[in-house]
Amino acid sequence: MSTDALPVLTANDFASDQDVRWCPGCGDYSILAQMKKVLATVGTPREKTVFVSGIGCSSRFPYYVDTYGFHSIHGRAPAIATGVKGARPDLTVWVITGDGDALSIGGNHLMHAIRRNLDINIVLFNNRIYGLTKGQYSPTSPLGKINKSAPMGVIDNPLHPLSIAIGCEATFVARSIDVNIKHLSMVLQRAAEHKGTSFVEVYQNCNVFNDGAFEYATDRNSKADTTIEIEHGKPLIFGKNRDKGIRLNGMEPEIVELGKGISVDDLLFHDEKAPEPSLAYLLSRMRHPEFPEPIGVFRAVDHPKYDEELNKQIETARKNRGEGKIEDLLNAGETWVIE
């Protein structure tokens, strides 16, 4: 029976029958809830959606959404997603990963998936710790952080996910925070809509092994001063009273106070569509405590997509040479007959 209107899906339709096994209070719950809402809003049929993940707490995600899913091996989700999307461009593909999965063991795959700009969405849950293996430092753990595998403090310089993504020529880069649910669903929605690889970093609290890592960005009293919501075409203003802004001083950002001879027009205006990624990169370098940390869409530009190009070549070959026939393939080159 065909009906004209597709059934309208709700967030609940995307819940699988599996018990969610994250620790109570984990930031992952909130991300899952927002994701289900966004999936319902976007409206892609469940059977057309594939979630791919690697290993880590966040990588359990596919079990909890009622779509097709692949909980693969450590770090390889972007490569698996490349096969999925390359072979079946009709599918909508989400990659769920964490800081260790994406930036340590899977760094190479992440880098290449992003530069190929496949039309997939990568969501990196950054909790700055290894949760599943119980508390070792991750590639995003800050210097000096005391933990199980660095009892005298971390001595590896941390990586910054968005800086990496931008360096890999990402066409969509955004950041949000697990508990900032309105903002998070806006960002996920934008990621879903973007054509090409969408890279989203979500600050996620691991309340068991790294509780409060992002407290500065989530605390009701401090967040207006420690984060800055960036919007395309708008000046960079922040602060509880929205009286502070970011201005460029040569190539460097600086914090200024509005009034006292400085007007909104003096501030840096965000341009997510800038062809060059310099601005996005500069924003990705603004870090707590020196700067408020930007959240929102850093970059959203259009570039050729690997999966589209791959399938275009197939179409072109078929158009120019006709659908391949076994007969022709076998008989190619010089042949001879023995009677």
Binding site: P45, G86, I314, L330
Partner: protein, 617 residues
């Protein structure tokens, strides 16, 4: 147009001949060998070839490290190997001579480019005195020809630089060899037209060089006789010459078509497997997607992703790459997806001998993964057999929902032989089914099994079959994550049993030679030609020797144990230190004897024959 002409010289008929071209890697020896191969195939000889590439692509000119060779065996009878020794050696410089001379039969024809035997060339080859002058080559029929000078004369007047002129020298050498063995020039002239048509001067120069070499043989007094190898009595049919890597690639495209799938080939460039990637990337009009991945791990995992959504997922590599793919292969076993994994073996361990052949990855193929991780393993025995092996591998992969490892090696990959083309209608469909959307809301069980223990291949995009797979242990039937002890034991046994069941689905092992007797030679993979030839020789002398060449290495053929028991001795020749022998001893408690060689070279027929004779005593 130059063609095979009546010659005034004596013509000697031969049953077979082996010729090797060798020179600097920039001398175009592979082309010379390939052209003579194709021509010999076209005149109806049976052929077998052995290209031998230098380990270093850009070794300094004239050095021993830069010597490239191409050996070709053509015959008026059925042959299986490129020949133990060569009847004629064409050496373009002293380094090529010194590294290849030991393979020339005493009294054999030795053609050298005299012009290359200057002080520098001799020194690079380590000669103190020119071997052309000190009598050290007296045991051979030496033809010392000023090829560089004569070739330059031939192409004079076409406005080529000296460098360009010298680039035609391989055609001069070819022309000479073609005359010597009475091969027609037309196929090579056609090749020149196709290849250099856009560059008329170069095309003309190559034509002239080819003819000049040919005429040198015909008109000068140097050669007193010419040889002829008439056409072989091969089974009737249409043939083409094919290398193992080509046959593998074409085989993949055909198997995909037979099963209504499209190929997704994830691969990272590696010697000697890269030609599969190159060949496949030319067949996009069959829906072939080639993905040059960032590394070996992405190559296999992207293919697994493609398999999950219904493509024919394939990854190909050589030993070092297969090692990197190990974890991914475990994932394919756990998720029970059909996947083809091609290992074109080369000398190991580590980077080893990238351009040389070996069979030392058998145990890696069987066991090189964590956990109890069984996977069917099958091996090709000749270049053209790669085509058939792929068909069989894909049939097994889809019938049993399992990854299958295909073993080839550098010798098969680059070697070529005439391939009798299969009739298109003999290539029946390879049936692949995917469950349809449930109609009355029944629950889908991704790990329910059929009579072969295969699980359903449910494709994303199908409503109502949404399910999750992954690397964690699965609960029987539901496929949910499960850590219960009883379930794990059950699942490990199920996966083992499923792989074992493949033995019921494939032909029994056959034996070449007497059904019982003194020695059974058991081999696998690319050693087929040498083993078959040695055993047939001994059979013709009345010895009770037989040959069983295994295609199925996991599971082993269901009748193999019984076959082994019918012979007094079992000999297992391998280009490793005894890997199949270890498996046979473990599996059948048979006192198998090894013949093991790890020199980066195939077996010669003589060494296999000598070992069998030793066992017969």
């Amino acid at each position: 147009m130059a063609t095979t002409t009546e010659t005034s010289k004596a013509v000697v008929d031969l049953v077979s001949a082996t010729v090797r071209f060798c020179g600097d890697s920039g001398d175009g020896m592979q082309l010379a060998g390939t052209q003579m191969t194709n021509t010999s195939a076209l005149v109806g000889n049976d052929i077998a070839t052995f290209p031998d590439f230098p380990a270093e692509i850009r070794a300094p000119r004239g050095t021993k490290a830069g010597v490239s060779g191409f050996q070709l065996h053509f015959a008026a009878t059925e042959i299986f190997t490129p020949g133990d020794q060569v009847d004629a050696l064409v050496a373009m410089n002293p380094a090529a001579l010194v590294t290849n001379l030991s393979d020339l039969v005493p009294g054999g024809i030795l053609v050298v480019n005299k012009d290359a035997f200057d002080a520098k060339g001799l020194e690079q080859a380590g000669y103190k005195v020119s071997p052309l002058e000190d009598g050290s080559l007296d045991a051979y029929q030496l033809f010392s020809i000023e090829m560089t000078r004569l070739n330059r004369l031939a192409v004079d007047g076409l406005g080529l630089s000296q460098k360009e002129a010298d680039r035609c020298r391989n055609f001069y050498a070819m022309g000479l060899a073609f005359w010597l063995y009475d091969r027609p020039l037309e196929p090579t002239l056609r090749y020149i037209d196709e290849k250099f048509g856009k560059n008329p001067n170069v095309a003309e120069a190559n034509r002239r060089a080819l003819r000049a070499g040919y005429n040198y043989g015909d008109t000068t007094e140097a050669f007193s006789s010419q040889f002829r190898v008439s056409r072989a009595d091969l089974p009737a049919g249409k043939y083409r010459n094919i290398t193992g890597n080509q046959a593998m690639a074409i085989g993949l495209v055909v198997a995909a078509k037979r099963s209504n799938c499209e190929v997704f080939y994830g691969s990272y460039p590696i010697t000697p497997a890269s030609d599969i990637l190159h060949e496949l990337s030319r067949h996009k009009n069959f829906g072939v997607r080639t993905f040059q991945a960032e590394d070996e791990i992405a190559a296999v995992t992207s293919a697994i992703g493609a398999a999950f959504v219904g493509a024919m997922g394939v990854t190909g590599s050589s030993g070092p790459g297969i090692a990197l793919k190990g974890e991914g292969l475990g994932l394919a076993v756990m998720t029970e997806l059909p996947l083809l994994v091609i290992n074109v073996q080369r000398g190991g361990p580590s980077t080893g001998l990238p351009t040389k052949t070996e069979q030392a990855d058998l145990l890696q193929a069987l066991f090189g993964r964590n956990g109890e991780c069984p996977m069917p393993v099958i091996a090709a025995r000749s270049p053209a057999d790669c085509f058939d092996v792929v068909q069989e591998a894909w049939r097994i992969a889809t019938r049993f929902m399992t990854p299958v490892m295909i073993l080839s090696d550098g010798y098969l990959a680059n070697g070529s032989e005439p391939w009798r083309l299969p009739a298109v209608d003999s290539l029946e469909p390879i049936p692949v089914t995917h469950p349809a959307a449930p109609t009355n809301g029944e629950v889908f069980h991704p790990y329910a099994r059929d009579e072969r223990l295969a699980r359903p291949w449910a494709l994303p995009g199908t409503p109502g079959l949404m399910h999750r797979i992954g690397g964690l242990e699965k609960q029987d039937i539901t496929g949910n994550v499960n850590y219960e002890p009883e379930n794990h034991q059950k699942m490990v046994l199920l996966r083992a049993k499923k792989t074992a069941l493949v033995a019921q689905d494939v032909p029994e092992q056959t034996v070449d030679g007497p059904d019982a007797g003194d020695v059974l030679v058991v081999g696998w993979g690319g050693t087929y030609g040498a083993l078959a030839t040695a055993v047939r020789r001994l059979n013709s002398k009345g010895h009770k020797v037989a040959h069983a060449h295994l295609r199925y290495l996991n599971p082993l053929p269901r009748n193999l144990g019984e076959i082994l028991s019918r012979y007094k001795k079992v000999l297992v020749p391998e280009l490793n230190l005894g890997q199949l022998r270890m498996v046979l001893r473990a599996e059948y408690l048979v006192d198998a004897i090894g013949l093991n060689k790890v020199k980066g070279k195939p077996f010669s027929v003589n060494e296999v024959e000598a070992k069998i004779v030793e066992l017969l005593k």
